[in-house]
């Protein structure tokens, strides 16, 4: 191996922010578990991440000490709960470099966040005074990609059914990258919204969005990025990203389940009609009609997941304390290690980019013709937890001609020893099925 010296004065490899993985692991109680007599090797963080004590404590503490409903009580507990809930919103806004906490709408998850945008479009389409940016009808187009999670496909299929608009999509290359070659034909004056995954949950690809953003701006469409897999793993700055909406979910970023985020440019959220009607989202209500609160309340009907939001705020504090650049670099090193280690396994085919550039720490593969269910079952008997199946991305499986894939995914607490355990486990799979 040759090493190339980086000239002094330039950033050196040692300058990269790093994390101490042993110290990180000590924060996650579940990592002490044994599975089937083996130490837990959790390689399914793209599915859901584990939660550090710092987040679990805040979740418990909220219910134990500060429990009350939000935004409606003058009493002390109500005020504490409201401050904690709105404080979490502010933390998330700062985490994303959003210009205002009001741009952060709490949702149940990414799926709900995408559906809110899709239903706001169809609601606007039904109103004669609907903002023309959201009005869809026959002749209009929605553009997605073949790389999407079902949650970024089905809501748009349903929207197109409701409005008569046409759904189109970017293909995926053999290397598992977004095929942008037809960009100018795909995104045109007919396009009203482009909704793309930022990092693929199955191929691991991180899409470079700047060319697409430029084209979206040129034709006057809107851009939504599904950042479910990127916000937990990369520093995300919505100003840099220059999207109109991003969505992500709390449980993949050390937070609890049941809480997600729709971030939208303030001016756009303000122009969108409501989707769910109910308490907390109104300005005034008479028996004949209602007027609506400004965002984000307009999109948060009913009692929200308060404790979950507060705990998501704690997760953001935790991730910020470790440092998102350090997490990103840790995972980049793991990914490079894993791509090389998996590449050494006989008859193993990686789907998606095989270099640790423009991709994250989520690697899907096939082991010969052993079915992923069987791969996952044997690995589980060794304590190694991977996801198997179509990963809610059936079009990607079809694109690569397989019914299912096996996926290993990493996070800030993953170690190279765990990747070694995966590779050793795959040898065991061979023994059973060869």
């Amino acid at each position: 191996m040759t090493s190339i010296a980086i000239p002094s004065g330039m950033p050196q490899y040692d300058d990269v922010p790093r994390l101490d993985v042993a110290r990180v692991r000590a924060d996650f109680p579940i990592l002490d578990r044994e599975i089937n007599g083996h130490p837990l090797v959790y390689l399914d963080s793209a599915n859901t991440s584990h939660k550090p004590r710092q987040v679990l404590d805040v979740l418990g503490e909220h219910y134990a000490r500060h429990n009350a409903n939000v935004s409606r009580s003058v009493h002390t507990l109500g005020t504490e709960a409201t401050e904690a809930y709105e404080g979490a919103r502010a933390k998330i806004a700062a985490f994303l470099n959003a210009s205002s906490p009001d741009e952060v709408v709490f949702t149940k998850n990414s799926t709900e966040a995408i559906n809110i945008v899709a239903y706001a479009f169809s609601n606007a389409s039904l109103r004669p005074d609907g903002d023309p940016r959201f009005r869809l009808g026959p002749g209009d187009e929605v553009v997605i990609s073949e790389m999407e999670h079902h949650s970024n496909i089905v809501p748009w299929q349903l929207l197109c059914e409701r409005t008569g608009a046409t759904l189109r999509w970017f293909p995926v290359t053999d290397q598992g990258r977004l095929d942008e070659s037809g960009l100018d034909d795909l995104v045109t004056e007919r396009t009203k919204i482009v909704s793309l995954v930022h990092m693929s949950n199955i191929l691991g690809t991180v899409n470079a969005t700047s060319r697409i953003t430029a084209r979206v701006r040129e034709v006057g469409a809107l851009l939504l990025l599904d950042c479910s897999q990127s916000v937990p793993h990369l520093p995300i700055d919505v100003v840099d990203l220059d999207a109109d909406y991003i969505v992500f979910t709390g449980h993949k970023m050390c937070g609890p389940t049941g809480i997600g985020v729709l971030w939208g440019r303030g001016e756009l959220l303000a122009a969108m009609p409501p989707v769910f009607g109910g308490g907390s989202m109104i300005e005034t209500v008479t028996m004949a009609r209602s007027t609506f609160a400004a965002p984000p309340a307009r999109f948060e009907a009913g009692t929200p997941p308060i404790a979950e939001a507060v705990a998501l705020g704690a997760a953001v504090d935790y991730l910020t304390g470790i440092g998102m650049p350090a997490i990103q670099w840790h995972e980049k090193e793991l990914t490079a290690y894993a791509l090389e280690a998996l590449g050494s396994v006989r008859d193993l085919r990686i789907f998606g980019p095989t270099v640790p550039v423009g991709r994250g720490g989520t690697i899907s593969f096939a082991l010969g013709d052993v079915h992923p269910h069987d791969v996952g079952q044997v690995l589980d008997s060794l304590g190694v937890q991977v996801r198997v199946g179509h990963h809610c991305a059936k079009p990607v499986c079809s694109r690569f001609g397989v019914p299912a894939m096996t996926r290993a995914s990493f996070y800030l607490y993953t170690t190279t020893e765990e990747i070694d355990a995966l590779v050793a486990g795959l040898e065991q799979v061979r023994k059973v099925f060869d």
Binding site: H371, D374, Q377, S381, H390, K394
Partner: protein, 158 residues
């Protein structure tokens, strides 16, 4: 690996690697009713098509095709072995016994005289995530048989 050996019995692996009667076939007897059913497991994408050829009394052939894990594919092979050529009533008794075994969470002792190689699936019943894999061809068979005009068996409570 002891637990795993219960799941992946030699018999299952053997049926998986050397499936019996695989491939969809036309009926030998042109008088037979032929019907098929295609079932998928939406959580994993496994698929199987089971075709039944029957004169209403005897299941002359049960053919199948599909793609999926060792459990679902071996189960289809065992289904073919066990039920082809059987009388409809008899076949549904076997069907019922297999469904009972798979719904038993590992607490049901299978009768080898009834289930033959199907007893190898006793270990699968301990793995709730895999029970649907084992049942996939059996549920497709039930639908195909109903479409071909023969019997029904109790609903599965998975």
């Amino acid at each position: 690996m002891v637990q795993l050996d219960q799941l992946y019995q030699e018999i299952i692996l053997d049926h998986y690697k050397h499936p019996h009667g695989r491939g969809l076939r036309d009926a030998d007897d042109p008088g037979d009713q032929v019907a098929e059913a295609h079932h998928v497991n939406p959580t994993c994408g496994d698929e199987v098509t089971v075709r039944v050829a029957t004169d209403g009394a005897v299941l002359h052939d049960i053919s199948y095709d599909g793609m999926g894990c060792s459990i679902s594919q071996a189960s289809a092979s065992v289904l073919h072995e066990l039920l082809r050529g059987r009388g409809a009533g008899e076949a549904f008794e076997v069907h019922e016994a297999f469904v009972e075994l798979m719904s038993g969470r590992g607490q049901v002792t299978p009768d080898e005289d009834v289930l033959g190689d199907g007893v190898a699936f006793a270990g699968v019943a301990r793995y709730p995530a895999r029970v649907k894999c084992a049942l996939l061809p059996w549920m497709a068979f039930k639908d195909a048989a109903a479409r071909a005009g023969v019997g029904v068996s109790p609903e599965v409570k998975a």
